[in-house]
Structure formats: C-alpha cells, structure tokens
C-alpha cells in the first residue's frame, strides 16, 4: 500500500512541475552547432575530387565534372551534384573527407515532402541551402590539417 501511495505522490508533484515539452512547429527547434543536417554545397570550392561520392556508405551522392571553362586553369569544375535524400543517412562522412569544405553540414533537418522526387536535391538546391551552416567542420580527412593521418 505504501508503494502505491508514494507513486501517487510522485505523479501529483509532477502535476505542477515545469513541463519539458517544446512547442516545436511554432518555435523552431535550435540544434547545436555540430548538428548534422541537410548539406550545403558550394560549387566554387569543389575540385571534383569525387571523394565524397566514394566515401558515402549509401552511394547517395552523384556528381559529374566538366573541363574548366577558363582555359588558363587546369582541372575540372563541377557540373552536376545531386544528393538523394531518400537514402542519405546524414552520417557526416562526405563533409569529413572534403578537402576544400565545398560540402558542409547545416542545422536544417526538416526533410518531409509530399513526393519522393522532391527528395532528390540538385546542386542548385543544395547551394541555396546556405543558412545555419555549421561553423566547425573538423574535416579530419583533409590534408591541410596535418598529413600524418
């Protein structure tokens, strides 16, 4: 009997305790800086090294490059860059290996859409997704940060 009464006491106290829920859709839910949300892509930085597509565990990144339009410069520039968010697991590995931080994480996490086709994001969409970009990217694969790795 005592145990039952103690339990009732706990719930009664909780009746007036501060509530822990947030009014999420009304107030945006702010994630900490390191949060791994939908990627932001910066085409000007991309050197078409293909590392992100290779490291991706689910093969959700497809990219193609084209020769640099400026004949003075060597190398390629990005032509198309798509991420399929049907299978992207936001694991952060693509931003980790990117040597130029051309692909970075943002704090956006809302991916619900009415059609699966809309989940196929192209370079333009990903470039425009440039708010709440993660500041600290810690891309440990990048050669700039110590070659011992």
């Amino acid at each position: 009997m005592n145990g039952l009464l103690q339990g009732l006491g706990v719930t009664l106290k909780a009746l007036t305790a501060p509530k822990v829920t947030t009014s999420y859709p009304d107030e945006p839910f702010l994630m900490p800086d390191r949060f791994r949300g939908i990627q932001n892509f910066i085409p000007d930085l991309c050197i078409v090294c293909n590392q992100c597509a290779r490291i991706c565990p689910t093969d959700c990144i497809t990219l193609t490059g084209k020769p640099n339009p400026d004949p003075e410069k060597k190398g390629k520039v990005i032509d198309t860059f798509d991420i399929n968010f049907e299978i992207c697991i936001l694991c952060d590995l693509c931003t980790e290996v990117c040597p130029t931080e051309a692909i970075v994480m943002t704090n956006h996490f809302e991916l619900a859409v009415y059609s699966r086709d809309e989940l196929y994001k192209d370079a333009e969409w990903l470039t425009d997704n440039n708010t709440l970009v993660r500041k600290d990217n810690n891309n440990i694969g990048a050669p700039a940060k110590g070659g011992a790795k």
Binding site: T11, L12, A14, A17
Partner: protein, 337 residues
C-alpha cells in the same frame, strides 16, 4: 418530473419526457467531451507534458475534433464478422450506460426518476454492458478481441459481486435503496456524518470494484494496450468505436456520481456554515474530485495481471465486503436499536 412518471402516458407527456432526455443526453455528451479533455490535460501535466492545446483556445475543441474525425471515418466491418452482433454491440454498450443515469439525484430538487429501488436498478442495468463487450469481442472474429471479451466477462462478473455487497452497508445505514433517501440520511451538518467514514471499508471496496467495472487502469485488462492491442474493440472503427468510448466515459460519469451520492454526502456541504453554497456546487466539486482521482490513478499505476485480478476480487474484496456488512449489521443491532 416525478409527477409525470406516475401519470398514464399521453402523447404530450411522452414528448416532454423525450425532450428532457434529449437535453440530458446533450449534457452527458458535453460532460464526456470535457471529461476526455480534462483527462488528457491532467495526465499530460502529470507526465510533464501540456496536453492538448492546438484545437480551439487551450485545446478546448480537441475532443470535438476527435469525435468529428471518428464520425467521418469509413465504417469497416470485417468480412468474417458476425454482422448483426457486430452492429448491435456498440449500441448495447451505450444504452444501459445512459439509462442508469436516470436514478442519480443531483440536488434535493434536481433529479430525474425517484425510483425506490434506484440502487438495484443501477447495478442491474450496468451489468448489461458486459454483454456488449463479450458480443463485440466475439462478433469481431478476431483473436485479440475474443481474448479481450472473455477477460471483460470474467472481470465484470467477479467485480460486480463485491461492488454490490460493499453497498449493502450503506443500504443498512440509511434503510433505503432510494438514492435520494440515502443522500438525505447523510445530511445533518458535518462531513463525518457522510457514509464515507462509518463505511470506510465499504468505500474502499466499492472504489476498487468501481474502477474495475469501469475497465480503467490498473484494471484495464479487457483492452490492455500492451498485450491485447485494444482488446474487444480492436476491430471497431469510426462511430462504432466512438460508441464504446462514449459508454466508457458515461460510466465514469455514472460511477463518479454514484460514489458522490453513496459515500460523499451528495449535495450536502462538508460543514454547516458552508450551507449557503448551493448543493449543486458541492455535488459537482465532489464529483470532479472522484473523476480526478480516476485519472490520477491512471497516470500512476501499472496494469494488474488477470489471475491476480481474479484472486483480488474473490479472495480479498468479497470477504472484506461481507465482513463490512456483518460489522455494520452488528453495529446497528447493538448501538442503534
């Protein structure tokens, strides 16, 4: 109202009675709507949430929206179900729950039927709902529903017995089965003249048995979410499901009102100097407290196991209730006569 009932039925009086019962039905529906809101709010607060707050101001229209959703849903009847019984069961669950309300007095003047076997009428009719649950469970042709229906039958039968016997003490004290007389017998000033204190054993047995009759946590075995998915109403959808829910909440109303009448002195104030407050306010306060306690228990306790439920009913509550009858009779014989 009482005078109408004793006269021969004419078209005029029938119409008036019908209108009155419609008005009362609306009141009961209003109660059910806000009892659900109240329950969800109270349980929400106890679980560190804020409860419904989206539809209407403070979420007051949430239940209305829910019921509306149920009404516009497709009405599905399983192909292998027993169609007739499947359709009858929800109505059979609801009708007795509404008819038992007729005998409950709210104040000295406000009551519907002044039945001299009021208590017996209540207990007898409320038993019919069990039948609806068994029928609903069986007619669904679903194994979970069948298990839920069987549990419901076992539970209702074993708890009806202690429920009735626990009230016998009250009947002995007030010498009447009429609910108005029972309340009147509890008047006379202070709150210790309520049946609650002389009949404390009876009250506890009654309360436990009543929670069980209501199929509410910790005795919600017939619908046991985590075992039987939804128990007897697993196959019901739309407004048929709404009828089962409605019946359940109307019984909450009925049991809370009955507890108030039998044990908490009905419309009597707890102290003589508080008499200036109208009786209906006292009734509603006590009533609301009983309803709150049901929700409070639901927010706290886990579910009882089915075999433990049976042994609690037959091996604990029934002997205690019988003992209570014996003690009450002894007291009346030795001290009152």
């Amino acid at each position: 109202m009482g005078a109408w009932l004793n006269e021969p039925l004419t078209w005029g009086s029938a119409l008036i009675l019908f209108l009155w019962s419609t008005v009362f039905l609306l009141i009961v529906l209003g109660f059910v709507t806000y009892a659900i809101y109240y329950e969800r709010k109270v349980i929400g607060w106890m679980q560190l949430r804020i409860g419904p707050n989206r539809v209407g101001p403070f979420g007051l229209l949430q239940t209305v929206a829910d019921i509306f959703k149920l009404l516009i849903k497709e009405d599905t009847i399983p192909r292998r179900a027993d169609r007739l019984l499947f359709i009858i069961a929800p109505a059979l669950a609801f009708i007795p729950s509404f008819t038992v309300l007729a005998v409950i007095p709210y104040t000295e003047k406000l009551y519907f039927a002044d039945l001299n076997v009021g208590l017996l009428y209540y207990v007898a009719l409320s038993g019919i709902t069990t039948l609806a649950m068994v029928l609903g469970g069986w007619a669904s042709n679903n194994k979970y529903a069948l298990l839920g229906g069987m549990r419901s039958a076992a539970q209702m039968i074993s708890y009806e017995v202690p429920l009735v016997i626990s009230i016998v003490g009250v009947i002995l004290l007030s010498g009447s089965l009429n609910l108005r007389d029972i309340v009147a017998a509890q008047g006379g000033g202070w709150f210790w003249s309520w049946n609650l204190f002389p009949q404390i054993i009876g009250f506890i047995v009654f309360y436990i048995a009543a929670v069980s009759e209501l199929n509410r946590t910790p005795f919600d075995l017939p619908e046991a979410e985590s075992e039987l998915v939804a128990g007897y109403h697993v196959e019901y959808s739309g407004f048929r499901f709404a009828f089962f829910m409605l019946a359940e909440y109307v019984y909450v109303y009925a049991i809370a009102a009955l507890t108030t009448v039998l044990f908490l002195g009905g419309w009597h104030a707890p102290a003589p100097f508080l008499d200036f407050v109208p009786g209906i306010i006292w009734f509603l306060l006590k009533f609301a407290f009983i309803v709150f306690s049901l929700f409070w228990i639901r927010a706290t306790f886990p579910r009882v196991r089915v075999d433990q439920l049976m042994s609690l009913g037959w091996k604990v509550l029934l002997p205690v209730a019988l003992l209570n009858v014996f003690l009450t009779a002894l007291y009346l014989e030795l001290f009152v006569k």
